[in-house]
Amino acid sequence: MTLSFRRTATMRVGAILTIAALALTACGSDSDGSEGSDSPSTSSSGGAAAGGDYGDIKVQLSWIKNSEFAGEFIADSKGYYEDAGFSSVNLLAGPVAQEEIVATGKAEFGLSNAVSTAAAVANSGFPLKIVGATYQKNPFSILSLADGGNIATPQDLCGKKIGVQDPNLSLFNAFLKVNDIDPDCLTIVPNSFDISPLEDGQIDGLVAYLTNESLLVKGDGYDTVDLPFADNNLPFVAETVITTDDMIADHPDEVKAFLKAEIQGWTDACNGDAGYKEGSELAVNTYGKDIDPPLELDKEIEQSKQQCEALVKSDETDANGLFTMSDQMIADNIASIKAAGIDISAEDLFDSSLVNEVYEENPDLKG
């Protein structure tokens, strides 16, 4: 009895001390943050924003921690975020409502897609902007089996059973509309992102990610057919970096520092086979090691390769740099978003000035 009482008492004192210590550190880092000068961030080499101290930030990812975020894992593990002035970056796994997390201040930055962010801005007045785009093309597609639905053109959709997730229903309807497909000619079946109904033949097609479900089904030994939205009149950017209007107005340097680290991370992640392997190993062994069912390295490497070749890099990024968004691309995005039933102007959704400044201030980033 006495012993256990003492232990509890000691633990209580310990707890109080810990809390006090935490409070002190919190205060400390707080004042550092507002002053933002005296803490030395040694390894940064010469950029305009170097030496800033932006403290700890959270980044809301759009999906589980697989190699979809290879660039973020590399930026974190190689210290690019630290070099840019962040003491730590907490990557939060999705899928969730990223716009809500960022707009309500639960994370400083988020990764989403142009249609989803446009909906949040247009429908509920969320004060958000897209400041950079990891994927120049969206990875949405209709996935089918070669000896099953075999859906290679939008016209092939007619007479088929298509599995659509509730959150993607409006996107799917927009895809039908821009391709002049009568929604009544096919059957929509509510489905999760589960691929087994497709493999079992319960559905003929599934709204999926080119870089994820498509590879999973292929990995199970099936011949797959993809019908990418981006190549069929519905192009828009995805894995887009979103942040609040306040952040852009009050802390543009922090946004630029974050984009710089992102660009560095993704440059490494897309640096040929070595890069694909590096990012995928981080996903499988470190960041996503608790995912169940476990990630498979071969599939993750294939995903890294595909996303880099087909989505992250394009003729425009070769000329202007990763994450950039040209005026023409923004105009195409606004047209797609309009097809999805959301009316929004380019300047209410996109702010490409910061990513352009990053490249002006760090010309060597283009590599």
């Binding site: 409502a97 707009a103 309500t104 989803s116 509920s124 959150p167």
Partner: protein, 262 residues
Amino acid sequence: MSGLKAVARPVFNLVFVLVCLVIAWQVLLNVGGVNELVARTPEQVVDWLFSDDSAGANRSSVLHPLWQTLIDAGIGFGAGLLAATAVATATYLWKGVEAATMPVAMIVRTVPLVALAPIITLVVGNGFWTVAAMSGIVVFFPALVTISFGLRSVTEQMVDVVQVYGGSESDVLRRVAFPHALPSFFAAIRISVPGAVTGALIAEFYTTPDSVGKAVNQALALYQYDLVWALLVVTTLASILLYMVAQLLERLVLTRYGHVTG
């Protein structure tokens, strides 16, 4: 006189419940510190439905799915109550039925509906029968227990009276057991109304038509928080109203049959 009294009480209840709901809503928003980007006050929801520029379109975007959900709930309500009455009658007539059905009913009731739903969809597909099965399950169990209780509370003496006059088993059922179980039957209806709506909402997650269950999901994905809140409010109101109607009906019928209503 007594009829008027029977009507006055539920109406008073309705007003009381609504006032409590609105107060609780407002208090929760203030205490919970919900971000105003996401939260809507009662006033905002009313504005959106009635005085907004697009109020008409807003109302139809809410009422259309609500109507579908009420149909779905009606299917479940009917299926569940019918099944419960049939099984309860069977248990009253043949004791063996109880031993056969109760364990199954218990299993169905203990497994959460959300976990059961994918299995039901696999068995009956995603259409009418899923709605009937899932919403029906929610209604079935409480209704079965309540109605069985009512039937079993018939005393030996009452049964004897019918039998002494040469009445058959079905006469006992018709003239004594059913009338005697009326209060329990109406209690079952009252409990079942909100249950049927809940069951329908879950079932709609797995079925295709435009319904509240689907509309909420899609509205959330598109950040249409006005629509989400309005759907929740209208569905809750519909549930409460239907409950009150059931209560009213109960009072009117029981008063007529000479049961004492509290």
